[in-house]
Symmetry: C2
Subunit: 292 residues, 2 copies
């Protein structure tokens, strides 16, 4: 059997009981290590599982899937994925490959940011499509995410924005020279994300992302408990001005709040507001929420 097992969002104890049992029975355990990260290191997972982990980078999962799947028709092999296995396309690829090889597969689900975002107090029903925001460079500023946010905003829906993560990336020079030397990992911060959003708004000027009139919620390490989880709510400008350290450790995500905002959502997220007065005033005056 080939298992793809979601690890959930924060540490080794977020695996499910079913997932842990499956891991313990596997002869090879791969850890997918490029689309997301846990708050803990590989050795802590290994100690908890009592198993050695094989790191699987993008190249391994995408082009060497037959090696991962080797003998999985005769023994149990698993690929561990942070969050839920169906966050990223590449995992459907490897399941399709397993099917072609007639290897039975089983997916063990877990929480992912796609549902744990509810921790903000914003209702999952009120979210539109999710978008990704990549690091801009001097010459490459892909902005199709803006159209998606606008589609959601026009319907009054919230948008979950997933922030870029660069793991095991090569510099242009190293890539050109074929040198397998990798840059240190980079995780997009909330202020950088907001500044990129505001930069694109200044070019498009549709008004969906206004520094003082658009509310947003920043999330970090959701589900990690009070000592790790950070949720910060405010206007885009407030989030931009807020000290970077207060957002906690990566990974970060950002919610752009839509106009269908409900007063219960305002009440709940107020707990996380940089400035409770601004939060309620904008919710009332700009979003039209009926608040006491």
């Amino acid at each position: 059997m080939f298992y793809i097992i979601g690890l959930g969002l924060s540490d080794e104890k977020d695996v499910t009981v079913r997932g842990l049992e499956a891991i313990k029975n596997c002869s090879r355990v791969y850890l997918e290590a490029y689309t997301s990260i846990l708050m803990v290191q590989k050795d802590r997972l290994e100690a908890f599982y009592g198993k050695e982990l094989i790191l699987a980078d993008r190249d391994t999962v995408e082009t060497q899937s037959d090696e991962i799947l080797r003998n999985a028709d005769k023994e149990d092999v698993c690929l561990l994925v942070v969050g839920d296995p169906f966050g990223a396309t590449t995992h459907t690829d490897i399941i399709l490959r397993a099917r072609a090889l007639k290897i039975p597969t089983r997916v063990i689900h877990n929480a992912s940011i796609m549902n744990a975002v509810g921790a903000s107090g914003l209702q999952l029903y009120n979210f539109g499509q999710t978008v990704s925001l990549v690091f801009f460079t001097e010459t490459w500023k892909p902005d199709s995410f803006y159209d998606r946010i606008k589609e959601n905003a026009d319907l009054g829906l919230h948008t979950l924005v997933l922030l870029d993560i660069k793991v095991k990336e090569q510099s242009d020079e190293n890539l050109a020279r074929g040198r397998k030397i990798y840059e240190p990992p980079r995780y997009m911060s909330i202020p950088l994300a907001v500044s990129q959003l505001v930069e694109v708004e200044s070019l498009r000027s549709t008004g969906i992302l206004h520094p003082d009139k658009t509310l947003a919620v920043a999330l970090s390490r959701v589900g990690g408990g009070d000592e790790h989880q950070r949720i910060v709510a405010g206007t885009l400008q407030e989030l931009l001005d807020h000290p970077k350290e207060t957002y906690g450790e990566p990974l970060h995500s950002l919610i752009i709040v839509g106009k269908r905002l409900h007063h219960l959502e305002v009440d709940y997220a107020e707990e996380f507001a940089i400035n409770k007065d601004t939060w309620r005033t904008v919710a009332k005056d700009v979003y039209g929420c009926s608040l006491d």
Copy 2:
């Protein structure tokens, strides 16, 4: 501490290790038993946890939350919720109440249908807002869900439709007489859901839900393994004509496929198609997918 703990989607082993540890330390363990169901009964959960469970119906969670929260500032108390704690509004209510009482809270996340729907092979990024479909009666056929599906469809997005569940409902007569006699639980089936969708389409006639030109995917007991999980894909008409038993046990959900459908999504979900030829033909000719 007051914990709200997600149990995941299928049985007792879907709880996380962190969740199980918390349950074992609680002096009172409540099981929320009205917005969703697990595949297993209360006694099996009790045996697995080594704890007695207190069933909490809607009335208890919504109006007697102070009883649930009693002493939670001094001892550990938890509320168990199928899926993830932030699927339904009522759980934000009880956390707000705990905050007002200065009781520390912690949420332990898990998979919910909102992310596990990725098991269909349809990408989470391509989903718009989620809708709920309630049982129609002769005199009450609320159809605002149709506007939501149309908003998604106009953007080419998929819609997750959550099907109604009636647990501990009273008949009009028993309600009027104040008799606490409850009807047997009812779970909306896929054919009934599709017939309600088609009924509303026949009134609205915008063409977003066409019997032979709209693709949909039915899901049941996602994550329950091959012996329980059922995923069935086809046109609305095929789903309507398909024997009801083949959809497996409740709960059921339904995805209305949007036009932004990607060929990899078609390939993956083809495995679940009632008729692979129809599936690919409609994807190609109606949805405009580039398929081999």
